[in-house]
């Protein structure tokens, strides 16, 4: 090349816009703001149908529950950091994979007990990643929690335990389980890493006891494992009679504000609150906590006196939105109820109105349901809070009117109808409209993307004496849960015909987009395919979903989540399906999108979850666009 041309060529190269790249996907939600936004523009509605499998891995860590081991439930977001893909498995192992080939670089086995100590399955939602910014052994670390509440820290390059972390690399979190310690903690959700601090919650034994360990948030030094501070969400005076209000899901954080946003769950027992009629303002809330001190800066309770187990299920999504000519630092909290709370993340003030509305009273012994609850009607809820879906004519016909009869039999007066001895329709069901997948947002446009499910359940309070006769005094048979210490056990079932058909009208799941600057819903379409006994429903019926979406800069949404075990690409502008691929089990994890050595990948974990259907797998599949 003539020397004189070189500056011109260089100038042209510099003038060419750099391709967008996603060089990290290093938290459960992709980033600390939980946007689930991937800054890659190579995947477009026009070309995404050309996706091909780049590699596929089976971890070997799977159980369908038919043998000695409990069933596995695997919802791990793969972590892309340090030029490596890290996965936690439901046998509490860490796998470090080559992001381009899936080849194993190293693995680490925590040797966790494989008993269902708290939850009914071996669950894992992945690993956490931290790096100090320095070089040397254990300056980059991967953390995994275990069923028996150990937090293991290993070197991200070698998989060797980091000896300077707690006791030889293993922190026994259960050492702090000293109040109402009727069950051990379980660490199923990886900690959220904020700076040099691990924000850690835990999972417990739901629906089993009235009095349970009080939920707390622990701030752990990422290097040493020392407890910096902890914050309890139950008032001290109530701890002898209740518990939980724990954090079992992921969190988000704004390092500039120094705040971590904490999704707090409901107090115990979950479906009767006669033991805890005094206010517990931090329960079932989104609460902003100072990262350095553990002080509560603000809190928004999303359900008062929660007797529906409507936990705050996911990390709030943080995004700056334009409204009335101003840029507002916003927080978007999706919920099990289908309400979308949009708050100023600095102050907690609502950006769209929160209305107090009267809700029905309880007729259960000792229960004092809150007379009002907060409703958010802008943005429109994903699920109708005032009216449950109508009886489905087809199910009613084939069940000879069973659905119509039951619609008259059970109590329903809107979303917050209290559980009752008569039986109460619960809509949305206990898994919620939205769960741990949360929402994704394109920070460039302020458009929010969310999948939701429409499941109707029947909750029945069973007086203790009757429950003990039905159940022989022990809990956790399918549908029955004891709430020991309360005057009632419960039975919780889906509203199905005897043949297993849903009694309510489809769709069973939708996918929606919202403009956060106006609060307007841009579209809502049925999403996925439901499946029963192998038979698929029609596309208009949609599917219940667990897991969340990822939106990319190219205008494509990637999502698994549906019960038909397919992973999909959607057109972000319309919600239309552009591509799908069958995997071995429902992909209830949030996918990860990353750019490795100049190539963009989307990777799905197909682990399954019994809430959707009894199908499990240990499959990980990465996709990339086909070679030209």
């Amino acid at each position: 090349m003539p020397y004189a041309f070189r500056p011109l060529i260089a100038a042209l190269c510099l003038a060419t816009p750099a391709a967008a790249e996603q060089l990290r996907w290093d938290t459960f939600n992709g980033d600390l703001a939980a946007t689930k936004f991937a800054d890659v523009d190579s995947f477009t509605p026009e070309n995404v149908s050309e996706l091909e499998r780049a590699w596929e891995v089976h971890t070997g860590d799977v159980s369908d529950g038919s043998g000695d081991l409990p069933e596995t439930v695997w919802s791990a977001t793969p972590i892309y950091a340090n030029q490596t893909l890290y996965l936690g498995t439901p046998f509490y192992r860490i796998l470090a994979l080559d992001p381009a080939t899936g080849a194993e670089r190293w693995s680490y086995d925590s040797q966790s007990t494989l008993e269902a100590l708290t939850q009914p399955a071996l669950k894992n939602r992945g690993v956490a990643y931290w790096e100090s910014g320095q070089t040397g052994p254990c300056e980059k670390r991967v953390y995994i929690g275990t069923m028996d509440a150990e937090l293991h820290a290993v070197d991200a390059d070698t998989g060797e335990l980091c000896a300077d972390f707690a006791q030889g690399g293993v922190l026994n979190v259960n050492q702090w389980n000293t109040v109402n310690d009727i069950f051990p903690f379980s660490l199923l959700q990886p900690p959220t890493v904020v700076g040099d601090t691990l924000m850690l919650g835990w999972a417990g034994n739901d629906w089993a006891y009235s009095v349970a360990p009080p939920g707390n948030l622990m701030a752990i030094d990422a290097r040493t494992g020392a407890l910096k501070w902890d914050l309890s969400f139950i008032p001290d005076v109530l701890i002898p009679v209740t518990g939980t209000a724990n954090i079992w899901t992921s969190m988000s954080a704004d390092p500039e504000l120094g705040l971590v946003y904490v999704p707090v769950s409901s107090p115990s027992p979950n479906y009767w609150g006669g033991n805890r009629t005094d206010p517990i303002p931090l329960a079932t809330s989104v609460t902003a906590v100072d990262v350095e001190t553990g002080e509560v800066r603000w809190s928004q309770q999303i359900v008062r006196h929660d007797i529906w187990d409507y936990d705050t299920p996911s990390a709030a999504t943080l995004v700056d939105i334009e409204r009335d000519g101003q840029t507002i630092p916003a927080l978007v909290q999706t919920t099990k109820m289908g309400f979308i709370f949009v708050l100023n993340r600095e102050t907690g003030e609502p950006i769209f109105p929160i209305e107090d509305r009267a809700v029905p009273a309880s007729d259960a012994e000792g229960e004092v349901a809150s007379p009002t609850q907060p409703f958010v009607l802008t943005p429109p809820p994903t699920n109708d809070p005032f009216e449950m879906p109508a009886v489905w004519w087809l199910a009613d016909a084939v069940s000879f009117g069973q659905c119509s009869r039951e619609r008259e039999q059970y109590r329903y007066e809107g979303i917050y109808t209290p559980p009752s001895v008569q039986g109460t329709f619960m809509y949305p069901g206990t898994a919620g409209a939205n769960n741990w997948g949360g929402a994704s947002v394109d920070p460039r446009t302020g458009i929010l993307y969310i999948n939701s499910m429409r499941i109707v359940q029947i909750i029945r309070l069973i007086p203790r004496a009757e429950y003990d006769q039905i159940n022989g005094g022990s809990g956790n048979e399918a549908g029955f849960y004891p709430q020991e210490g309360a005057p009632y056990g419960i039975e919780l079932t889906n509203w199905w015909t005897d043949l297993g058909l849903p009694c309510w009208k489809p769709p069973y799941g939708t996918f929606s987009a919202y403009d956060l600057s106006t609060g307007e819903r841009l579209y809502e379409v049925p999403f996925g395919l439901s499946q029963q006994w192998g038979f698929y429903g029609l596309s208009d019926w949609g599917s219940p979903t667990l897991g969340g979406p990822v939106v990319t800069a190219g205008g494509v949404v990637f999502i698994g989540a549906s019960m038909d075990a397919r992973v999909r690409a959607l057109d972000a502008a319309t919600g239309a399906e552009l591509w799908s691929d069958l995997v071995e089990a429902p992909s209830v994890a949030i996918p990860a999108v990353y750019t490795h050595e100049g190539v963009d990948y989307v990777v799905f974990v197909a682990g399954g979850n019994s809430i959707l259907k009894a199908q499990v797998s240990d499959q990980v599949v990465a996709y990339r666009l086909g070679q030209p």
């Binding site: 006994w533 192998g534 038909d564 075990a565």
Partner: protein, 114 residues
Amino acid sequence: MRRSHFPVIALGAIGIVLAAYACISSDSGVAGTLGALLALLGAAAVTAGSVIAAFTLFEGGLFGLLAFLIGLAAVLTALAGFFLMQYGLAAVMALAFVGLLVAVLRPARHRRPI
């Protein structure tokens, strides 16, 4: 022997292969499900019924009943194939139903005993 039933037998046999694949292959999306098993039984019923129709001397009402049952099995299996997203099976069973109609509606002089 009623040779006109041979295409239905052949289509039924292809249906068995396709339904068996759906039952056992993890690529089918319905492996191990009750629905796939029912589809396999349906294809087997179409095949077995057609064999009986082709190689026995059933006449009159008995033959009519047998043909009706084969047709019902073919239609239901085609529907099952459709809702299992096994479109090959659905198409084969639909063809088997058409073949059965052709076989039944052909003039009786074409039917010969063995």
